[in-house]
Amino acid sequence: MKRELKSTKFGKYGGQFVPEVLMPALEELTEQYERYKDDSVFNEELNYYLKDFAGRPSPLYHAKRLSKEYGVKIYLKREDLVHGGAHKLNNTLGQALLARYMGKKRIIAETGAGQHGTACAMAGAAFGIKTEVYMGAKDTVRQRMNVYRMELMGTKVIPVKGGSQTLKDAINEAMRDWVANVETTHYLIGSVVGPHPFPTIVRDFQSVIGKEVRTQIMEKEGRFPDSIVACTGGGSNAMGIFHPFIEDDVDLFAVEAGGSGMKVTDKEALHSATLCTGEDGVLHGMRTKVLQNKYGQILESSSIAAGLDYAGVGPELAYLADIGRLKPCNSMDAEALEAFNDLCIFEGIIPALESSHAVAYVKKVAASGELGDIVVINLSGRGDKDLETVMGMRK
């Protein structure tokens, strides 16, 4: 057992809390990732797909009218323009390609609202890898358009009927599938969560966001921004934009979903603010902050933004929050809706409700000076998927 345990963790967070049957797969994945991550052939192919297929680099857009409205200079990192409409594809392209290099014949994934599943379907189709996506049965009904999208691209969507029939049941079921088919199958996790090495792999594949921002902001401003703000569900768009700036004098804000309030019962929370209010625990293979009751049972979380609705959070974010390198904060459903509206009206950009949480936080605190003079918001996705929700809320 030569594995360097230390490297599976971020401080006390992270690790590999999975059934024994998966351990060799995680070892294999770690090794293969180490092998290809700096491999020039792999990276050339990945970069080709990121550029010509996904449409990278995404612009860094100076939102003049919103800046004026909010009283701080705002740049939007336009992940909403990435193929599929969100940052998710950066990761699925990376992992799907890795799976191909590893000789895996099949990709599985879990999805909640269907964004990650759609991004998997896109990558799976582009590379010609068989793709199956687990999705809570309830979610397949609520998000039938995304189910249809995936199916159009040849992905099999498997409704999960157990439990609450939502994301966490889909994760559980995907893990079970992986346990059963680990030799032929790559489990394509959709955020910086799960057992090591997933949080690192996903963070690395998403870091293209922050790397681009470094170049773009230097071109535009000749300096780094004072702060970067990103919404945080699992935390992949946040880590993607934060990570390249970790060593720099840039303040990082991880905006979680405040939902409809901070109330928590024994079974559920009205929010998904895991970094802000969660306690140490172990979920989905990692030690991290978790929304749980006093016995360690995981709570049902809640948010208007399906993509933020998760009771855990990436271990690296928990670590960075503990050491004070990032500030956890949150926006309520209503604040996110207002920001959604602002971006539509002032900039002609319909943002994802997830991303709207980041915008809402900027609106809330810009006047306090907390964000400095120049702020970059990671606009993680577009809001076409959210129109029905917003229509429903506004009535």
């Binding site: 057992m1 030569k2 594995r3 345990l5 599976t8 690790g15 590999q16 809390f17 999975v18 059934p19 024994e20 049957v21 998966l22 351990m23 060799p24 797969a25 070892e27 157990g162 439990g163 966490k168 994760i171 559980n172 893990m175 079970r176 346990v179 059963a180 088919n181 680990v182 030799e183 306690e279 140490d280 625990g281 172990v282 979920l283 989905h284 293979g285 030690r287 978790v290 749980q292 006093k294 016995y295 360690g296 049972q297 995981i298």
Partner: protein
């Protein structure tokens, strides 16, 4: 009773061990005592009693449903330990739960609660040896066995280390996949039994539901079989539960009593 004592006793009698799993509190906390008693009457040698967790990743639909019934029935770790203490068992009892339940309670408190309530062993399917240092320490101090799992995918290198740390028995995962009753015995199961060379008893679980399967596994060199979903299925049916648990336990036990 310590697990090792039980296996020694069975070895002398040339019997394989029947390790019977049900989820505590399924469907209510009060049902558990009756069900466990029935299993013991039927011949179970060791009881593996699930302590339910909201997100049971390593379990199949059958046991997952049992866990849900149990949680809906109000089961908590506090009630669990009280229930277990009240069982006053004469055979070894092991707790099967997920790591967050233990983590949240605190390793020391959890292990002490186990010892105090008469639990001999702990199975944590989402806790591989790499992450188990803290818990293993408290287990050693309190004479509770931390039971490790070995899977068909486990490499020889990992196997060596797991065997070195093994206590109570080694839980051999019969196949890739999750818990759930199946009707055949995979050739990979036989291979795994052959591959795991140790003096610690070997019990095989995942997918065993019939006496025939159980007998084949004991023939192949295992010291015991772990049967769960087949019992939980009976509980799920809600019909004649104690009697049927006893009948199935007896069928299984007879099949593996070669003496």
């Amino acid at each position: 009773m310590r697990i090792s004592e039980k296996f020694s006793e069975l070895k002398k009698k040339k019997e394989g061990a029947l390790i019977a799993y049900i989820c505590a509190g399924d469907p209510t906390p009060s049902a558990t005592k009756e069900y466990v008693t029935a299993l013991v009457r039927g011949g179970a040698d060791i009881i593996e009693l699930g302590l339910p967790f909201s997100d049971p990743t390593a379990d199949g639909p059958t046991i997952q449903a049992g866990i849900e019934r149990s949680l809906n029935g109000g089961m908590t770790p506090d009630i669990y330990f009280r229930t277990v203490a009240s069982l006053k068992m004469h055979i070894p009892l092991v707790v099967m739960t997920y790591y967050n339940i233990i983590f949240k309670r605190g390793h020391e408190k959890f292990v002490k609660d186990c010892a105090a309530s008469g639990i001999s062993g702990i199975i944590v399917p989402d806790l591989p040896p790499e992450e188990s240092g803290d818990l293993a320490g408290f287990c050693r101090k309190n004479d509770v066995d931390l039971i490790f799992l070995v899977a068909p995918t486990t490499t020889d290198e990992r196997l060596k280390r797991i065997l070195a740390e093994a206590k109570g028995f080694i839980y051999l995962v019969a196949r890739l996949g999750v818990t759930g009753a199946r009707s055949d015995v995979a050739s990979s199961t036989r291979e795994l039994i052959q591959r795991v060379k140790t003096t610690t008893p070997k019990a095989v679980g995942f997918g065993i539901s019939s006496g025939k399967q159980a007998a084949e596994i004991i023939c192949a060199g295992a010291d015991g079989v772990i049967v769960g979903s087949a019992f939980v299925d009976i509980i799920a049916s809600g019909k004649d539960v104690p009697a049927r648990l006893e009948v199935l336990a007896r069928e299984l036990k007879e099949a593996i009593s070669l003496g």
